[in-house]
Amino acid sequence: MTKRLISIVLLGLGLLAGSASAWAEGPELPAAGNNLRDQASLQRGAHLFFNYCVGCHSLKYLRYSRMAQDLGLTEQEVLKDLDFTGARFDDPVITHMPATVASKAFGKVPPDLSLEVSAKGADWVYAYLNSFYLDPKSPIGWNNTILPNAAMPFPLWKLQGEQTAVMGKDGKTVEKLQLSHPGEMTPAQYRQATRDLVNFLAYASEPAALQRRKYGVWVILFLVLFTFLAYLVKKEYWKDVH
């Protein structure tokens, strides 16, 4: 019995290791708190993305049609409300900004965001969208505490307003950010908006996540039943082994 216990503990240890963080070390980030099962949040996030982000960023691995299906939107709704580039319904989401124009304007081509949340994590993207501040020393006028000297201007400034940096004692590191000019949204509304946007980008990173969660429960229930029946068969066969 003790041997069996030890084995189970060993197996458990292996699983525990999986819960340890595999992210590269960095500052502790606040949790994004997004929820893929919240379809209304995904729809709001999609609206934000297509109003504020698609001007520069593509989601080249995501098709409008797939998005419509997964987010509970009709073809008309997508073409009217979200598709501003004149793309066809089955096309992937590609920005209209030519790469040459983008690299002239920003010094680099804005990255495709299809896999941004898979690569950086939802918490990172959420923190990034909440950490822009006015910086007169930056060529674009904006800077970011999560990704210092980012080439990206802050497209959501009308919503959040303008943050400015409070410098630490050394005069070089940013101690905290404060809202110096309020925007159209309250801070709580803005946090929710960025949470929705991160939620949509998390969906875009792995549309299959919606399916696997749906089927997973049934697969596991089936396997539990299968294992139970297999156990009964085993017990029956082994009755005569002494």
Partner: protein
Amino acid sequence: MANAFIRWFDERVPGLAPVYRKHMTEYYAPKNFNLWYYFGSLALLVLVNQILTGIFLTMNYDPSATGAFDSVQYIMRDVEWGWLIRYMHTTGASLFFVVVFLHMFRGLLYGSYKKPRELVWVLGMLIFLALMAEAFMGYVLPWGNMSFWGAKVITSLFGTVPVIGKGLEQWIVGDYLPADATLNRFFALHVIALPLVLLLLVVLHLAALHEVGSNNPDGVDVKHGPKGNRWDPLKPADAIPFHPYYTVKDLVGVGVFLIVAAFIIFFAPTFGGWFLEHDNSIRANNLVTPAQIKPVWYFTAFYAIVRMVPSFAGTAVWGVIAMFGSIALLFALPWIDVGKVKSIRYRGTGYKVALTVFVISFFSLMLIGMDLTDTLFPKIFGSDIDITTWDNVFGRIMTVAYFGFFVFLWLYTHLGWEKTKPVPERVTTHD
């Protein structure tokens, strides 16, 4: 009707039925197998899963530096059930190592490598070696940034060989850096060459096992015990036919294993970034290095040994020799440990302590290879410690402990220091 069908076959291939009997219904296995004896059949199950899901992935994967990354996303998004097939393959790869590590550890617990099963063990070790190569090549195929840098680091290990190193590395990579040519050849090796080798070795592993018979948790040789069971008066009294007894028992193990696998596949396919790494969501880029380059979890213990052995005499090859040595020593285990008693149940205290230390050293080296000690040590010992020094001291102690296991075992058994307990005549338990 069914009988006529079987007879028809039997007349034409008379050799088939005896083979089936030899390996299934008349393969007599000890009746006292415990939890540790599930992992062999589970490894076979995972192998079949890897081959089947691999076939379907191959249909949609593009083995080129320009197309590989996109084709993986194509599989994840546009191929019907492609996401499930891929997650079964990626989860299977990690779980393959979980079950193989546990299967090997079972051998250490009950002395399954000892006479007369030396060849079974050596063939198993060859499987492990082929599996490591297979896993490494497969890991490169998605052509993410960690694939690229992982390939760079692992192939550069060959570059440390004096004199011929650089040429050897370029010969393996087919370029100065991992590139299209590398991807093409790794694909060929991953989908055809190494699977063939693996399958052949698995057949030989099983053939060798069925020739000498299975060991058991008591380490008692049932073939030398009393004869005569319900099925055959000449077969061991303490053994039962593999089929149906162990086939139905293994089916329960399969069920439990699949529940764990399904949980990962459907709810945590990246397993927090340990099975599918975050940096692999970024396309391979030879200009941008990931913040931390580390191999996937199942290689970390061996990788830690490379890191812990310092370079001297102007070459870093010693770490590489130590890493290969850590595996080579496992091959030689049947000749290092010549103790007559097989099972840990009846072995001396020295063996129990040594095996515990060995397990601790392996897990500790894994922690170092995973870069987890970098966050663990400051939490335990305060944030002002010098992490590199602590890492090196801890890692070197654990490396010495790993190799010390084999040295101790040689001395312990060759010089007759071991005080064993009496081994029973018959197997003691079964469940």
